[in-house]
């Protein structure tokens, strides 16, 4: 079962990446608020009239640049793989995680999409098991892709479900 490469990224399965539009959505939220902060600093600096204070706006701008880059890496690190009996979900760049959810343990599957998600044309598939801790969610799927994945997972889950 074990692969010779990185144990956190088994390479004997077919990984599917998520949509880069998820990165855009997260960047809009994170960098947008930092830009608002930068504008606020500029306005305050203008009122105070100190040229040094204008430099303060660079801090949120630099942070926004870093977050922009980080979100790209994080979204690129999210991937899932459907195996015969279970679903693998991996995520994280610095702190990496690899979750296995056996189809037989899935109690139900949700598809969620907020207003921004809908505007960008992405949705999140959320798997629920009887354990509160198994956070198995796949964000950033195209809505029709999410719906077919949900149906497929639900069908496999039903075929294998046996109590708790």
């Amino acid at each position: 079962m074990r692969s010779p490469g990185d144990p956190m990224v088994p390479d004997d399965v077919a990984w599917s990446a998520v949509s880069p539009r998820l990165a855009l959505g997260r960047r809009i939220v994170a960098c947008g608020s930092l830009l608002v902060l930068a504008v606020a600093v500029v306005v305050i600096a203008g009122v105070v009239g100190s040229p040094v204070a204008f430099l303060g706006a660079l801090v949120p701008l630099a942070l926004a640049g870093w977050v922009w880059w980080l979100i790209g890496r994080q979204v690129a690190a999210i991937a899932y793989a459907e195996r015969d009996d279970d679903l693998l979900v991996r995520r994280g760049v610095m702190f990496r995680s690899l979750a296995v959810v056996p189809y037989g343990r899935m109690q139900f599957v949700d598809v969620e999409a907020g207003p921004l998600d809908r505007a960008l044309g992405i949705a999140r598939v959320q798997l629920h098991t009887a354990a509160a801790r198994s956070d198995a969610s796949i964000p950033g799927l195209a809505p029709d892709q999410a719906a077919t994945l949900r149906d497929r997972l639900a069908r496999r889950g039903e075929a294998r479900l046996a109590g708790l």
Binding site: D86, F95, V100, P102, G104, A130, A132
Partner: protein, 477 residues
């Protein structure tokens, strides 16, 4: 439900499939709680004033009394309405409960999904011979059905009937006979008291108390004592809650499953059918080491509902409050019959996991590299997989051993931080249902952890396929 409540008709059983009311004394017993809570609030608010300003004026006292009386009337009326609305019904497959004054609710619990049945007797209810029956089904949040309150005999009859129907057991008539109970151990009161004293926070609390009393005597003023009051109150209430909750802890076995009885003021009888224990943790705090005492906590789906994950073990999640190593191992054997049944490794290896370190007892443990991340405890991190159960070992000061049957594994995860990545390590976690047991093994070699992850996923599948304890556990016996 336009007809008024009918009182219990003699000769009829609580399990005949009719809609039945709760006991008529319910509103009185439950409404009283609100008044008691109000009295406590008033006591806390006014208690401080009393010391500073002396007795309150006559008008003030009258207003307070009137407010409490008004609240009592309101609570009583509400409890009466709630009681008039509440109806329950038991048929062959489900327990149904209708409640709600403004917002109606009808809950239905399929009996083959039953996880545990508790009979709880709050102090006041005990005076009237009443009891609450609480049925746990697996669900997120607070999914239990509470029948509060019933006649004690009715609660008992309901419990045995629900369990028999859930088990798929055939019996004569409407009410199943009470399953015979075989008592296996009792925790002596003296040990309960000593275990509470052998506790870090109790000792700190006692030291603080002694210190402030000395300070008060030396200074000749009661000021330090007043400052201590809130802390002292907290410590005493925690210790008191543990003492009354764990008082007279008895473990028994019956064909229905493991029976637990405990409590001083509010008594609780829990029944956990076979195969309902999702995970077990054996735990030994530092100060219990001299006595070699252990505490056993369990995850049962539905227990601890409505509480947050992090609140730790609550009363109902305890399988043994405090016991010797032999007692703890025996209780674990009762909770996880898989351990002994399938010609498994048996309890000797479990015992080795309690105190062992490194590869002792066949455990796979952290490599030397892990000492950079956990210089004290790295040798204790270990995992052992048997035919039916996964054992996760950890903790040098507070020793812990988690056991998860493969058939109860929900999902699994591998976690790796940046330092672990440099050292070639990864942590392995098993996700169990909500409860105090959150099994994980820190700092395993990354490739070992990855292999374990995939093997464990397969074992979970195959164990579930031939698990005999699901659903109606008495069928086919």
């Amino acid at each position: 439900m336009t007809t008024g409540p009918t009182s219990t008709i003699p000769g009829r059983t609580p399990t005949d499939g009719e809609w039945r009311p709760l006991h008529p004394l319910t509103p009185f017993v439950r409404g009283w709680k609100v008044v008691a809570a109000a009295l406590v609030v008033v006591g806390q608010q006014r208690g401080g004033d009393l010391a500073q300003r002396g007795l309150p004026s006559r008008t003030e006292a009258l207003i307070t009394l009137a407010a409490i009386a008004g609240l009592a009337v309101l609570a009583g009326v509400y409890a009466l309405l709630a009681w008039r609305r509440a109806r329950y019904r038991v048929d062959a497959d489900v327990l149904q409960l209708r409640t709600g004054v403004l917002f109606r609710q009808e809950r239905q619990a399929p009996l083959d999904r039953l996880q545990a049945v508790d009979v709880v007797r709050p102090l006041l209810a005990r005076f009237f011979g009443l009891a609450e029956l609480s049925l746990e089904v697996a669900g997120s949040g607070d999914s239990s059905i509470r029948l509060s309150l019933l006649r004690e005999a009715d609660a008992q009859a309901l419990r045995s009937t629900l369990l028999a129907r859930a088990a798929g057991l055939a019996y004569e008539g409407d009410v199943a006979p009470e399953a015979p109970e075989h008592e296996v151990l009792t925790v002596p009161v003296a040990r309960t008291v000593e275990s509470l004293l052998r506790n870090g926070s109790t000792l700190v609390g006692l030291l603080l108390l002694v210190g402030t009393v000395v300070a008060a005597v030396v200074l000749g003023s009661p000021a330090p004592l007043v400052g201590l009051l809130p802390i002292g109150f907290t410590v005493i209430s925690v210790v008191w809650t543990r003492f009354t909750g764990g008082f007279g802890f008895r473990v028994a076995t019956s064909p229905d499953g493991v029976r637990l009885h405990h409590g001083l003021l509010t008594t609780r009888s829990q029944t956990v059918p076979p195969g309902r224990v999702q995970a077990v943790r054996m735990r030994q705090p530092l100060l219990w080491r001299g006595r070699d005492w252990w505490r056993v906590e369990v995850n049962v789906a539905g227990y601890g509902g409505g509480r947050s994950q992090d609140q730790g073990a609550v009363e109902e999640n305890l399988l043994l409050t405090v016991g010797t190593r032999a007692e703890a191992l025996m209780v674990v054997g009762l909770a996880l019959p898989e351990l002994a049944a399938a010609a498994d490794i048996g309890l000797d290896v479990v015992a080795a996991g309690l105190t062992g370190s490194g590869p002792q007892g066949g455990f796979t443990s952290s490599p030397r590299g892990a000492r950079w991340l956990d210089p004290i405890g790295w040798r204790r991190h270990g995992v052992l997989v048997t035919r039916a159960v996964l054992l996760a070992r950890r903790g040098v000061l507070v020793r812990e051993l988690d056991l998860v049957p493969h058939a109860r594994t929900q999902s699994l995860a591998l976690l790796q931080g940046p330092l672990q990545r440099r050292l070639g390590l990864a942590s392995f976690a098993v996700h169990s249902t909500r409860g105090p047991v959150r099994p994980s093994v820190q700092h395993l070699p990354a490739d070992v952890a990855a292999t374990l992850l995939h093997q464990q996923a397969e074992r979970a599948m195959s164990a579930r396929a031939d698990s005999t304890h699901d659903g109606r556990w008495m069928m086919g016996r």
